[in-house]
Subunit: 242 residues, 2 copies
């Protein structure tokens, strides 16, 4: 019987993977993942069989992992960032009742909130929330409510999936909701293509963020009431007296 | 002129560090950190000078990093988990105006919410908040407000620093506040000593969590309205239809 590892690969290059993630991929019989994530691996792990499946095929992708495990193959299912943060870990566990003999292990990775924060400076150095603006699987009303509660609680807010071809105005809509509770001067930032070709960082105010054009490979950061910008870095103090 | 890297070391063993973190530590002239974190490195990086400083000495520790950098040493300041999530990154950036010549880089790591989630299953597989229950640097009223907003927003909640010698009842107090908005049946879990000796996981209801005895080396997880326990794993569905 094979085993399934759900592996968070961070931005995709080995430099930002954990040693355990690298070793797990190296020791797999097959690496399975969304086409875009398999592409991120490039020529790495070239002696391991790789299977890429398309977007929206998540359930089929996870079932394929179990089927390969039943064929006595050790399977790594890769997720960008972490394996659990909007990743495939929960879906694998949900499906596992149909394949109860297959052992499952989650190998965590550096999620975009952490890797993006490192580029921007120290924006999530206090209590923070992570919200996805994608309403493919979550009703927009739930997303709206969470934006309101997050801003009312003075959390630092990180936004995943802030835009896509079909959701071009979602970041603007989210910023408008946040502006109900937050000042337009709130310090913000975003990073495009974290740890990949074309990496680019931006810092500015919430009012400016509202009009920024970002894509689905962007992670946005909205500061709390203490966050500030200094020398181009976005910094949320922990509260130490200097 | 030396440089400062603020390095997230995850739970502490190399297996859960990124390759970049390992390489950065290897190439440092000196590794500086809280006594407990230096101890986590054990005999690793044995050819690098290590300096351990006590708790509550965070500002002095960070100043020491700049002073070593001014002595032309390349410094790794280690933080457990991530470098930014309740770590030293923001303090280093705050102090940097006094040492403007010194270059700074943040090397992210696997924070306890991610490494703990991997052990429990998939608890943070949807929007989540991270709250520290330590009121050393944050007024308790702010923490209370954030607990209320997080539960009102139906976020998964991860709690850092849920207890200490002087704050034995803080988890109980936090759970009581959460119970204003959440059902006592809400699926919860925690992990002690993630990735270290004595690692132990627990799952149960919010009502049960309220009476659990945890320590400062514990990370707690409170599910959202969709989270469930299955075969001892804590799972928050992303929303895929199976």
């Amino acid at each position: 019987m094979g085993k399934i590892w759900i592996v968070g690969i961070g931005p995709g290059n080995q430099e930002m993977m954990t040693k355990k993630a690298i070793d797990t991929l190296k020791n797999s019989d097959v690496i399975i993942g969304y086409t875009g994530y398999i592409a991120l691996l490039g020529d790495d792990f070239s002696n391991i069989e790789k299977i890429a499946t398309g977007m929206r095929g998540e359930v089929e992708r996870c079932r394929m992992c179990f089927e390969k495990a039943l064929e006595n193959k050790n399977v790594s299912l890769i997720c960008s960032g972490d394996a659990g943060v909007y990743g495939m870990a929960s879906l694998i566990f949900e499906l596992s009742s149909e394949y109860s003999e297959v052992e499952i292990e989650v190998v965590p990775g550096v999620s975009a909130s952490l890797s993006g924060a490192a580029i921007l400076g120290a924006p999530i150095n206090h209590d923070f929330v992570t919200i996805s603006l994608s309403d493919l699987l979550t009703p927009w009303e739930v997303i709206e409510k969470r934006l309101r509660m997050a801003s009312a609680g003075d959390f630092v807010i990180t936004l995943y999936n802030p835009s896509s071809h079909k959701r071009k105005d979602y970041l603007e809509r989210a910023c408008e909701i946040l502006l109900e509770n937050l000042s337009g001067d709130t310090a913000c930032g975003y990073v495009k293509n974290i740890g990949r070709n074309g990496e680019a960082a931006w810092v500015g105010t919430l009012l400016e963020l509202k009009d920024e054009k970002v894509d689905m490979f962007t992670t946005c950061f909205i500061g709390n009431s203490q966050t500030f910008i200094k020398d181009g870095k976005l910094i949320t103090p922990r509260g130490y007296k200097i």
